[in-house]
Symmetry: C2
Subunit: 426 residues, 2 copies
Amino acid sequence: MVTLSEQSDFTAIVTAQAVAAKDAARLLYTTTHAQRNAALAALKTQLLNHAPAILNANKADMERGAAKGLSAALLDRLLLDEKRLTALANSLDAIIAQPDPIGQITESWTQPSGIQINAVRVPLGVIGIIYEARPNVTIDAAALCLKAGNACILRAGSESLETARALHAAITAALESEKLPAAAVQLINTTDRAAVGALLQLDQYIDVIIPRGGRGLIERIAAESRIPVIKHLDGLCHTYIDKAASIPMACDVTFNAKMRRTGICGATETLLVHTDAVKTHLPVLLEKLFAAGCEVRGDEALQQLDARVIPATEQDWHTEYLAPILAVRTVASLDAAIAHINHYGSHHTDAIITDDVDAAATFQAGVDSGIVLWNTSTQFADGGEFGFGAEIGISTGKLHARGPVGARHLTTVQYRVQSNGAVRPV
Amino acid sequence: MVTLSEQSDFTAIVTAQAVAAKDAARLLYTTTHAQRNAALAALKTQLLNHAPAILNANKADMERGAAKGLSAALLDRLLLDEKRLTALANSLDAIIAQPDPIGQITESWTQPSGIQINAVRVPLGVIGIIYEARPNVTIDAAALCLKAGNACILRAGSESLETARALHAAITAALESEKLPAAAVQLINTTDRAAVGALLQLDQYIDVIIPRGGRGLIERIAAESRIPVIKHLDGLCHTYIDKAASIPMACDVTFNAKMRRTGICGATETLLVHTDAVKTHLPVLLEKLFAAGCEVRGDEALQQLDARVIPATEQDWHTEYLAPILAVRTVASLDAAIAHINHYGSHHTDAIITDDVDAAATFQAGVDSGIVLWNTSTQFADGGEFGFGAEIGISTGKLHARGPVGARHLTTVQYRVQSNGAVRPV
């Protein structure tokens, strides 16, 4: 229970952080790419310098987590050992290597009035990031925000707060070594929920909130926030095997899409198969799936094809398993596949396997999802695989950013207009 | 007072409209540019066919408005006479002439993994537009949404509902004549506030809300909405006369920026002048402003320059007058001008007058506003002047759309990926 006076304490503390972040954002706004990259390089150094403190802090979080009875999966997410810390430090190189997301002219044209207009990418301002256990989010988020000249306020999950504090100390050291304001990356230093509630009201200081975590967390934040939210919701992804698909490609790509990692949002959950491809394309794939321990839930045609297939229910078409389970449905046409995906899918990532160029074009133009793939595994739904250096999430919303969110999406556009004294006629 | 059962009636009616809009958006999603433009051309014809009904409806709205004691300014906004209706019908030509905002490839690249990625513009989906008196918004909004393949739900102000109904009948006739779903453009057929409340909860059907109206309306909607909102808030615009400004240009551009129309959001409200330019650049400008009936409120230096200048207070730097009043402040440097604008401004539109290329670049890179102009009147802050054919507002937010919002901003991006069977390594 939070008392009123505690709530107002949190409001005061978080507001002071937001004001400091906005001031820092003003300074970052005019930094050069070289300055921002120097801070990222310094962060890499400081992560290695601070390694003992970071590993100790993580050990404390892990012990507390084990005592609290966190699941093995959660503990594995929380773990930051020497190997992972080194990988995390090295991952900054990919962000440094990215081109400057700031200053890029995205459009340029001249009007009959004589005004010349350039649309130029500029920093967004202040970004609030609310996440759960993974310690790497602290570094990824700070680095992507810095790369694009933004200040950020980080709110780590209660399980990983010690680790986040130790990582944040390295960030602060890096900022100071490069003469950038420490307030450019701030951590909310409490696990109390009231601090998040206070943060979400500060729309005069914070430009966008990015939550990373389960659906419950994200929906609660979206409902409560006065600040625009970039959401990362379900990944109910489909692969559709067209009648004109290559059989080996259908088998390999679908197997990878389902089984490479079953717990990520880009994993295929439902396989759609053209009626004409069931007998030709599925037997080898099903063998491979069963051999790998995948459960298959299918419609009548699938059950007839293979006795190991469990009957699928309506609920299966709605389910993101995040597990080695695959729902399989036959469809009579390409249009039926598109209609199924637009109806049951989460508009995240969907693929077609076909050798028919027209079918691929119809599929990609008709499926209303952030990522639509042709002859490619849905597991490529990832900022790193898209070449963004890293990602802060995969947006399932349609506004501002859709699909993997990298530094280039943490920007806004500014119109720079010039003329030789143009005045507007009445 | 709305009773609970009335509220649930509105919820049921508005929900049914939103469901129908989402279905219509699915159909619009795959229409061609030729089909969408044909509907816009049909709308032009139908507006002229329906002219008698539209003019009669507007007469009824005008009479009701006059009886309710609406101000002359509001009645002028509400008025749709034959001349304005013809201009409105003709304004569709500019939207038709725009290039297709859909299908444009904004980025294209290949990754080392072999996947080839195209970012392609696609329709947003369903757009809710909530506005006040101006009848032209009904047509502008419907036309811009259609141009970009979106369905829309329109909520007109109570003063203009009769006119909106008559205009909507013309829209429906145009859609039907081109075999597009009538539900692609729907009108909320009540002036009851409860209908808006119901609309703002329907985030599973509606992708974005665009309010047009006073600050009160927009803030209420933003606070209440579960759906992302593209906001059009204050236009506290500045013109800065640098020490290196041409004297005649400073005079002409500033006069136009302030006085062409004082009631629009792009009108300059505060003039900043470099200390070194006060005696050289202001006398002619002040004469011109006073002659045109403009009130000038200035700091000490201004009052010393001209006895007609009224002392400015701190409040003046915060005020969007929308009237023939100009606040004038001297600043000691370019940096002081930028700092003033970033502190007091509304991040809408700001201009520098200078012949110094470096000063212009520093100003444009340092001022955090949607539009920054060099030697150009702030009154160019307008979708038509930007070449967007028309605008649905000028976004003062930083997310998704900033500055004038045309059809091209009522889109989202979709990543279309292809490869020759790429699977992601473990």
